[in-house]
């Protein structure tokens, strides 16, 4: 396994298990909270039937999608040089941040009032 030098490079940014967990959880939670209205509608639409089953299915899907994301990230970490990956990841995060910020701004009352 070429794991050791990869680990060494990555350990430049260690962070305890709890710190990584908290950072990831906070970022994902805040980013997703606004988007979960769609899922709420899905759950409400199923209220006549079985909302718990819908919730279980949705949760499994969300857990699977984050597993796919984590595995994809580890695969890229094996494939690319750490500094290249960091640069690409940094650019992606900045683009996502700008896009997410724009989405949030557009839903602020003062902007929706101006648009409508």
């Amino acid at each position: 396994m070429g794991d050791s030098d990869e680990r060494q490079a990555l350990d430049a940014a260690p962070g305890s298990w709890g710190a990584v967990f908290a950072t990831t959880a906070t970022t994902v939670f805040l980013a997703e909270l606004g988007d979960k209205t769609q899922l709420a509608a899905l759950l409400l639409s199923a209220q006549s039937g079985r909302p718990l089953v819908v919730f279980a299915g949705a949760s499994l899907a969300l857990i699977s999608s984050s597993l796919v994301g984590v595995v994809l990230g580890r695969w890229l970490a094996r494939l690319l040089a750490p500094e290249l990956l960091e640069r690409l990841a940094g650019i992606l995060m900045v683009v996502l941040g700008l896009w997410l910020g724009r989405q949030a701004m557009l839903t602020l009352p003062m902007f929706t009032a101006a648009a409508g």
């Binding site: 962070g15 939670f29 988007d35 209205t37 899922l39 999608s65 900045v94 941040g97």
Partner: protein, 119 residues
Amino acid sequence: MSPILGLLASTFVTVFLAELGDKTQLAIVTISGTSSRPGAVFAGSASALVLASLVGAAAGGSLSSLIPTNLLQLAASLGFLLIGAQLIRKSLGATEQDPSAAAMGPEAGEVPAPNHSAD
């Protein structure tokens, strides 16, 4: 297939496809690729996603009237920008000891993680 399994499967497929390539998944790829703790990233993202959908479901369609979700998203976007700036700065510092790289994000400092001194 029983109706319950059918409903479970159709919900799974719907939500899974909706989440593929979503901004959150891209963020997870980014965090996982540049961190040495994939287990923590998985646990954090999975629990946050389930919790967010639970909060959304509990509040029904009126979530945005209960809490300022757009302000929370704005906070999240700032978090994305900060993490991104840190990563770019770090990648520049790794390839060349360029002092101009440090000038790019003075507010980010030399701190790679919020509480790296915890352990």
